[in-house]
């Protein structure tokens, strides 16, 4: 009996090798696996054996049945794959064309930073782009004689006040919103202010009269320099990777004291020095400081009780670094060949 089983197995395997298409596969199925096939007949003939032999060979026959079934299914699967091939369809042809739109890279940069700071409990505020001298300069401790107030740096609006003075301008920074926010919300305060700013400056590949800033402010009791440093580190790590280091240097801004420049290790060369970082290994990215007491006062906040920190980034510069963009004018150019890359 055992011999018969082995023989059946051999025959099946031999025939299986000859199967190359659906027809021969079907023939194989009829011959061995169908109700009238060889295997069924074999199982039937077991009934004629005595009990102990039936038990012994029944098991063997069953195993054989499972094996043949599996081999058959396997063959069927390979045949199905080969069949698709045989219809000669090129699967590398392109999919349907869905037209794509594109964001301005400044928007992408701004969204990323907004998400970071809202996750830290900051409000996101907007301010007017056409501002007054008072909020843009005076309240920020920038006196009338300061160079920044010159006509050659600031766009003034031809809409004089009752004393025939030009006291309206296109904001040169997002900072006037610091004062408006302090006036509106008081302390404690945690906010970022992204937005469009203006500078009366002829444009070339490195200068733009319209640019984008993102500024942050935290006011609370006992806000200190160590806190400022920590916020700047977080931003650097978020923007340029976890290993990014921060270096701070003194820098004068009238609305903070102390005032700083923050530099991050150049992410292009990992601080080794390259063309972009002018071979210093550092990229100057952020202006920062502790809020000047006079600015807090202008915002209606008592500097004896509260202190604050503030920092600001140029979004153009961040985007230029991040995407290796070499001409600042591209952001406002509306050139599709540029936008299509984002």
């Amino acid at each position: 009996m055992k011999d018969k089983l082995d023989q059946l197995r051999q025959e099946f395997l031999q025939d299986l090798q000859q199967v190359h298409n659906q027809t021969t596969l079907h023939e194989l199925e009829l011959k061995f696996l169908s109700r009238k096939g060889a295997l069924s007949k074999m199982l039937h003939s077991l009934k004629e054996l005595d009990l102990s032999a039936r038990q012994q060979f029944g098991k063997l026959a069953n195993n054989l049945k499972i094996e043949l079934q599996n081999k058959f299914t396997e063959k069927e699967a390979t045949l199905n794959i080969n069949q698709t091939h045989s219809q000669n369809i090129d699967p590398t042809l392109p999919g349907f064309n869905f037209p794509q739109g594109h964001f301005n890279p400044i928007t992408l940069m701004q969204n990323k930073l907004e998400d970071l700071f809202t996750s830290l409990g900051f409000m996101v505020l907007d301010g007017p782009e056409l501002e007054s001298e008072y909020f843009n300069f005076t309240a920020l401790n920038i006196p009338a004689s300061h160079p920044a107030r010159d006509m050659q740096d600031t766009f003034y609006i031809d809409y004089p006040n009752e004393h025939q003075e030009y006291d309206l301008l296109m904001r040169t920074q997002t900072s006037p919103m610091q004062i408006r926010a302090m006036q509106k919300y008081g302390a404690p305060l945690r906010a970022i202010i992204p937005g469009r700013c203006f500078r009366n400056e002829a444009t070339d590949s490195r200068h733009e009269h319209t640019f984008y800033q993102l500024e942050g402010i935290v006011i609370d009791k006992k806000i200190n320099f160590a806190h400022l440093k920590s916020f700047l580190e977080i931003v650097g790590q978020e923007m340029f990777g976890a290993k990014t280091k921060l270096r701070m240097r003194p820098k004068f801004f009238p609305f903070v004291e102390p005032g700083n420049n923050g530099e991050y290790t150049c992410f292009l060369c990992q601080g080794k020095g390259c063309r972009v970082c002018k071979y210093t290994g550092w990229l100057e990215i952020v202006g920062a400081g502790l809020v000047h007491p006079r600015v807090l006062e202008a915002g209606g906040i008592d500097p004896k009780i509260y202190s604050g920190l503030a920092f600001g980034f140029g979004l153009n510069r961040l985007a230029m670094l991040k995407y290796n963009i070499d001409d600042v004018r591209l952001f406002n150019s509306g050139d599709l060949r540029f936008l299509e890359q984002f």
């Binding site: 869905f98 037209p99 594109h102 964001f103 400044i106 928007t107 809202t118 409990g121 409000m123 996101v124 907007d126 007017p128 056409l130 501002e131 007054s132 008072y134 309240a139 004689s145 766009f155 003034y156 609006i157 031809d158 809409y159 030009y166 309206l168 296109m170 919300y185 945690r190 009366n200 002829a202 444009t203 319209t210 935290v218 609370d220 006992k222 806000i223 200190n224 320099f225 160590a226 806190h227 440093k229 920590s230 916020f231 580190e233 977080i234 270096r247 701070m248 003194p250 004068f252 004291e257 102390p258 502790l290 000047h292 406002n332 509306g334 050139d335 599709l336 060949r337 936008l339 299509e340």
Partner: protein
């Protein structure tokens, strides 16, 4: 500004182990940015000492010579125009590839048919002086083939300092000030400047003649020190003086001018020397209206009564703090000078400098508020050096020193606990005191926890006033890197969410991702030409006082001009495309943001608009309607019914019959229109253009005031669908037909247009429309007869109202 390391070393001894790169780095992290370290020798790169071997006339040019010079490795043929050439002379030779300070790059050339392989240089071409009479002849020390830098002993290292980062540090625009910082940073001893003022006792009072000076504009002149000096002999400066100036990019002129410059670069006080010959009296006064002066740069300058001048009794001698006049210029025949060391009001100097468009070494310093204590110090330093350079000079007047109100010393109480709170970390008391002292601050008394600090005069003019200023001083010297960063512990609070910003973001996402539009950032400024082409009236547009150009001189009230431009510049690359922009526009009307805190005046009205533009081949108008409809459904609810109704207020650039107002929930929020062909022509646009402009602020209000929408259960009973198709007069609008149908009967729950036809198969002036109609009840399954009856009534109704003619399929 250029700072010479050799010069600094006069004041602070820098150990060899402190490399120049370290100095630059530490100055950058503690004081001011050093942009560059320049080897002085680099400026003479590819310039060597050569010897004239052969000299003959150029065959084709009378004034030129053919010279052969030996530069040790090789012999060069050079064409040279100088007439002081002699055989055997040693001369500076610029080789091919050398860059001269004048900007000239030396290249091999053919001059009148003769090859020239370099250039023999004159003094001015090397930036060493003004002489252009002939080539510079070198002395016996010169060895053939050595580099010119080596011959000059130009071994200095120059620090290039970023002037902008000095805006609040008038004390740093000079060598002594930076030496002071270096001494503080590296804790090295600093020589006192008194050591450099070595005047014999009584020199300043050796003459008895009084100098006649009258200060009329006392509000603009804080201090005026001056003295007359006789027996002056104008000549070339000695080498040490010339070399010091050359090292920091200053061109030597003559001994007197060079000395005034030297002292300024050393201690920061600008000096001015007048030829005293014609001066009987000095008057410091405001200029007369339209008074003129011919200045040293050979310009006739017209002054106003806001400018300060130094004048004789006859005419102005100098524009105070800015530039001298030609009348009193030091010349080769000058014998007597009046030396001025003054302190002028910074803001006034700045104003005049701005108005004249003239910045000078002097004005750059004065406009930062110089320490008035400096005038006498600089004057003494000048005399000390003058005695050294020209021992024969004589003091010819008493010292004049007008100084009515020496500023009061600034004293600051520095609470150490407060300091620690500001920094976030304790800096040992001893370190705090030491840091401040190294920078010249005086610690008067040390109470338990409060330091009484006096600010040195050179930091007191505008830089250091309040305790916060001292925090910076302590911190920057201690090193920002030494402070351990630490996030603050803040109260956990839900921030006010800026819904408008989130809505902006959502709109941008929808337009980019689902409508395949591109995000434009266009300028806030527009120009008249552009608006004229769009036939937009700009009489009420806000103007800039000082625009960069006439194409950007008005503040936009619409996003349309910018969007049109987006199409224009891309139309040659693409055919079917679109842009959107979400930004501010500005109006000549009071807005709602306060202008200041003292009055109720407000800023001009500003609002945000959303502009969308499409160009391409077909169905632009309806594609744009689809985009707007899809956007509104997405930001509001899928049930939002966005209506496009015939517009009444149609801009001049729009096609009247294809301009609709966008209405949502009964509120008009914007306009959608096809641009007129003639406007297309004005801008050379190749394809039709459709534009939608929506008031984002109004839209946001609608979105935020949406009533909570209730879910309606899925219908239990099936809907019955019937189609209806009819012909109707073309001028009858879809909008009206649809309204009439949907309102006709409560069982009619949905009306959907599926076909519109207008063409040869129909009579002229007719169109055919086909709708799917859905009938449904919430409490029963509708029977066919019931639906048929309503449909019949509907057709009758439409017939009465619009004279429709049914069509068969």
């Amino acid at each position: 500004m250029y700072i010479s390391l050799n010069w600094l070393k006069n004041f602070v001894k820098i150990p060899a182990k402190i490399k120049p790169t370290t100095i630059a780095e530490e100055l950058s992290t503690h004081t001011v940015e050093v942009e560059n370290l320049i080897k002085q020798s680099a400026q003479f790169d590819k310039i060597v000492v050569g010897q004239v071997l052969e000299l003959e006339k150029h065959p084709n040019a009378d004034r030129l010579h053919l010279v052969v010079v030996d530069v040790k490795d090789t012999k060069l043929k050079i064409v040279c125009g100088a007439n002081n050439l002699k055989l055997g002379q040693k001369v500076p030779v610029s080789l091919i590839g050398a860059h001269l300070p004048t900007g000239l790059e030396i290249q091999e050339s053919i001059i009148r048919g003769e090859k020239s392989q370099g250039m023999i240089c004159a003094e001015d071409e090397l930036g060493l002086g003004r002489d252009h009479q002939g080539i510079l002849v070198l002395n016996d020390r010169a060895r053939v083939g050595e580099t010119f830098a080596h011959y000059l002993e130009a071994n200095d290292i120059i620090l290039e300092i970023d002037n902008k980062s000095l805006s609040n540090r008038p004390d740093l625009l000079n060598h002594y000030g930076l030496a002071r910082e270096i001494s503080a940073i590296f804790d090295l001893p600093l020589k006192t400047y008194d050591d450099f003022l070595k005047l014999d006792e009584g020199v300043l009072s050796s003459a008895s003649n009084k100098l006649a000076v009258k200060i009329e504009a006392s509000d603009l002149c804080l201090r005026y020190s001056a003295i007359k000096i006789d027996n002056i002999e104008i000549k070339e400066s000695p080498d040490w003086l010339k070399n010091s100036l050359i090292a920091v990019n200053q061109r030597p002129v003559n001994n007197i001018v060079d000395l005034t410059n030297y002292v300024m670069l050393e201690c920061g006080q600008p000096l001015h020397a007048f030829d005293a010959q014609k001066i009987k009296k000095i008057i410091v006064r405001r200029a007369h209206h339209q008074e003129t002066i011919k200045t040293l740069d050979d310009q006739e300058r017209v002054l106003t009564n806001k400018d300060l001048v130094i004048s004789s009794d006859l005419a102005p001698l100098a524009i105070a703090g800015l530039i001298g006049g030609q009348d009193s210029e030091i010349t080769n025949t000058t014998q007597t000078i009046i030396l001025e060391a003054a302190n002028f009001l910074a803001s006034n100097i700045r104003q005049t400098s701005q108005r004249l468009g003239l910045r000078t070494e002097a004005s750059v310093r004065f406009e930062k508020s110089l320490d008035p204590e400096l005038t006498l110090i600089a004057l003494k330093r000048f005399l000390t050096l003058l005695k050294k350079v020209s021992p024969q000079v004589k003091i010819a007047s008493t010292l004049f020193d007008y100084y009515p109100q020496p500023p009061q010393a600034i004293n600051i109480d520095l609470d150490l606990q407060w300091l620690q709170d500001k920094i976030g970390q304790e800096i040992p008391r001893k370190t705090v005191i030491n840091n401040l002292q190294r920078l010249g601050f005086i610690i008067n008394s040390e109470q338990e926890n409060i330091l009484k600090v006096t600010v040195p005069s050179w930091r007191a003019t505008k830089d250091v006033h309040i305790p916060e200023d001292l925090v910076e001083e302590v911190l920057r010297l201690y090193g920002y890197g030494q402070i351990k960063s630490q996030l603050p512990v803040l109260e956990l609070k839900l921030p006010e969410i800026n819904q408008k910003r989130l809505l902006e973001r959502k709109i941008k996402n929808i337009l980019v991702w689902s409508s395949a539009l591109n995000e434009a950032y266009n300028y806030s400024f527009v120009g008249e030409t552009q608006l004229k082409k769009l036939k937009i009236d700009f009489s009420q547009y806000l103007k800039l006082v000082n625009p960069l150009s006439s194409i950007h001189n008005l503040l936009r009230q619409s996003l349309v001009p910018g969007l049109i431009n987006n199409i224009k510049i891309n139309q040659f690359q693409e055919t079917n495309f679109g842009f959107f922009e979400l930004e501010s526009v500005f109006f000549r009307a009071p807005g709602n943001q306060l202008k200041n805190l003292e009055s109720t005046a407000t800023l001009p009205y500003q609002e945000k608009h959303l502009g969308i533009i499409l160009t391409g081949t077909d169905d632009l108008f309806f594609r744009l309607k689809g985009i707007v409809d899809n956007l509104l459904k997405n930001i509001m609810t899928p049930q939002t019914n966005c209506e496009f109704l015939p517009a009444t207020n149609i801009p001049n650039w729009a096609q009247k019959d294809l301009a609709v107002k966008i209405v949502v929930r009964g509120k008009e929020i914007g306009l959608l229109a096809l641009v007129l062909p003639e406007i297309n022509k004005n801008f050379n646009l190749k394809k039709p253009v459709a534009i939608a402009e929506i008031n984002f602020d109004l839209l946001a209000q609608l979105v935020f005031s949406l009533p909570g929408s209730d879910y309606r259960g899925i219908p239990k009973y099936p809907a019955v669908r019937r189609d209806i198709s009819f012909v109707v007069n073309s001028e009858i609008l879809y909008n009206d037909l649809r309204g009439e149908i949907i309102d006709f009967h409560p069982l009619l729950v949905n009306v959907e247009l599926f076909d519109v036809y207008q063409g040869d198969k129909l009579e002229l002036g007719k169109k055919s429309l086909a709708f799917h109609l859905s009938y449904q009840s919430s409490d029963r399954t509708l029977r066919a007869v019931e639906v048929d009856q309503v449909q019949k009534n509907l057709i009758q109704h439409l017939n009465q109202k619009f004279s429709i003619k049914l069509r068969d399929f």
